[in-house]
């Protein structure tokens, strides 16, 4: 009898726990996430954001400075662009952040239209390890694509020699290093290669993770940098800021206008000095600007165009938009010290226009 009773109790408990688990998995994360973060976003004094890891050092600095000046806390979780977009889609954050503009699929997955506000620009540089090389390596888009496709295998390949006249290149094998984790850096780099090489576009394509034809994957910038530093003959791509901080050699890349450009904050800002469309969804890779570095990219903050959703207050919408406005104006001073490129004047103008288009209950939030 006793056994039966305790068994009944136990099975009841199992049913309850099981039921709870089923509901939490049935919502595929969306419902449960909404519940768990509802408390946080209900807190009027903290803005919640999630997304790209690439601008995280800059955002952390900006948000801490903004808090000092205006007493407005921002909680930013750098979980990756994909995650940021998902959290925005499920409305668990006030704003999302991404290194790539939303694509058609992601746009249609959103419950309401969202706008892109460019915040800063960064560059991806090609770092290499060629022993006894004193000059800076020069690369053309064609050679770069062929190296990453595995078609050029040695450093003294005639195609590389033709670009680097008068430079003595060794007969070492080329070892390609790439990111193993999905990243905005990879996205910018593969987007660039897809633009300049039809072979790359048809064989590999662009994305934050792709099926690399050759090479070794390293986790994070530090993983790629480790492979480059340790292996003679290695070439790989890392963020400009990381390469500068770690004194890594990086190549000059030929841009669309035919000039070989050294990546720097100035040449990235120059790359953004092009006509930016009204929705700010533009890729800076393979820029038309004559002195712009071709493998650059903007990074965006994403917010809903109509801010009245769920239980959102107008006050919160105003606070958030003011904060973003500050980021693209006063906040820009923190870019250069952290090796991010400040926005070009026309990018700021587009950002302002985008912010002013945000509405609350149909009326513009910012005057």
């Amino acid at each position: 009898m006793k056994t039966f009773k305790s068994l009944a109790l136990a099975s009841l408990a199992i049913v309850i726990t099981g039921g709870m688990m089923m509901t939490s998995c049935g919502g595929s994360g969306t419902a449960s996430k909404a519940d768990s973060t509802a408390g946080k976003s209900g807190d009027d004094n903290t803005l919640l954001g999630a997304g790209a890891t690439f601008p995280n050092p800059l955002y952390s600095k900006m948000f801490s400075e903004y808090d000092k000046a205006n007493g407005q806390k921002v909680n930013y979780q750098s979980i990756g662009s994909g995650g940021g977009i998902q959290q925005l889609t499920s409305k668990t954050v006030d704003f999302g952040a991404s290194d790539a503009p939303l694509n058609g699929k992601q746009d249609s997955a959103l419950p309401a239209p969202a706008i892109h506000i460019p915040i800063t620009a960064g560059a991806v540089v090609l770092s290499y390890n060629i022993p006894d090389m004193k000059d800076t390596l020069k690369l053309t888009p064609d050679v770069l694509a062929k190296i990453f496709l595995g078609e050029i295998k040695k450093w003294n390949d005639p195609k590389i020699m033709a670009v680097n006249k008068g430079v003595k290149l060794p007969a070492t094998d080329i070892l390609v290093a790439h990111r193993s984790d999905g990243s905005g850096t990879s996205n910018i780099f593969t987007t660039y290669l897809s633009k300049v090489s039809t072979d790359w576009e048809s064989k590999v394509g662009k994305g934050s993770s792709v099926n690399w034809p050759v090479g070794l994957g390293g986790k994070g910038n530090e993983g790629v940098a480790g492979s480059i530093k340790q292996t003679p003959g290695a070439i790989g791509y890392v963020e400009l800021a990381y390469a500068i901080q770690n004194n890594m050699a990086f190549a000059k890349i030929q841009n669309k206008a035919g000039n070989f450009i050294t990546p720097s904050i100035a040449s990235i800002t120059a790359a953004a000095n092009i006509t930016i469309p009204g929705d700010a969804k533009v890729s800076l890779t393979n820029t038309d600007a004559t002195d712009g570095y071709p493998i650059s990219g903007l990074t965006w903050i994403l917010v809903y165009k109509e801010q009245k959703y769920d239980n959102r207050t107008q006050d919160k919408a105003i606070k958030m938009l003011k904060m973003i406005q500050w980021m693209i104006h006063d906040g820009q001073q923190y870019c250069a010290p952290l090796n991010y490129a400040p926005l070009s004047a026309n990018a700021v103008a587009i950002g302002d226009a985008q912010l002013k288009s945000v509405t609350y209950d149909g009326k513009p939030v910012l005057q």
């Binding site: 006793k2 056994t3 305790s6 068994l7 109790l9 136990a10 408990a13 199992i14 726990t17 099981g18 688990m21 089923m22 998995c25 049935g26 595929s28 890891t53 979980i79 990756g80 662009s81 994909g82 995650g83 977009i85 699929k105 992601q106 070892l175 193993s180 984790d181 999905g182 990243s183 905005g184 590999v204 394509g205 662009k206 994305g207 934050s208 993770s209 792709v210 099926n211 690399w212 090479g215 070794l216 994957g217 390293g218 986790k219 993983g223 480790g226 492979s227 340790q230 292996t231």
Partner: protein, 330 residues
Amino acid sequence: MKDTVDNDLITRPDANSGRVIKSKKDPEAVSTTKRLKRSHRQIKAENIFRRTLTVVGWATVVLVAGIFVTLVLQSILSIKTSGFGYLWGKTWDPVRDIFGVYPFLLGTLLTSFLALFISIPFSFAVAIFLGEYFPKGWVPNLLKNTVELIAAVPSVIYGFWGLAVLVPIVRSFESKIGAEPIGLGIFTSSLILAVMIIPYAASLGRSMIQMVPSNLKEAAYSLGATRWEVIRSVILPYTRSGLFAGIMLSLGRALGETMAVTMVIGNTSLIPKSIFSPGNTMASVIANEFTEADHPVYLSALIELGLVLFVVTVVINMIGKQLIKGVTTN
């Protein structure tokens, strides 16, 4: 005193399920005869305690089942799109939504079994040394604690150590034997994993060996057996199931290890040509790509990868259990 407690522990895995049921009924029988001596409150407390244990015990089962169900539910999209080709497809291309896990499955199994192969001599040596030759004293104590400390070091530290120290060594080794001198790859990962899993088999083996009844050993010695003979024909047969359980524990750890492996395996989706080639494991692919999996099919394919890893672990564990059973009944 300690010995008797340990002896209980040692017989428990050997006991078959019939005995467990019996022990469940026992307190019932005992309680009917002794209930008069117990206060009502005592009985109540006993029952509450027993129920709590039952619920908590079952909760773990439900939890594992829940994880399995979640993995299956979230993989449905990927299962529908990729079908069975998912298991033996050789291309993993998130851009074109072509998902085949064969290279990662191969990478996981290769690294884990190679690591196990490398670690077994070391863990058994440590177990026999500490269990039989020098069970007491400060040197064995130091050794014992050091071995246990290996398990406490965070895996990212092994990864860094591997990247900074082991990779250059392996690279020069590879150039000597004529393999492609990369340094990163399956062999390096197996070495790191081997170090990481030594303590599991070693600790379990050591406590098993210490529990071998001394009258058995003394009997063997009195018959003129040498130390090696005692180890081979008394200690090892007596502790076989425990040593085997330790190996299974190590293997489980090796299958799931993510961080350290990711840092030294080279992370390519190409099928490894030899043990010196770079490769990838299922766990490291999930860790690498989950954050930026930006479309539903991709995310679902990664979750299905988790499901495959789960199933592989369960299957290997079941095979291991069968092997232990076979070894003990002989």
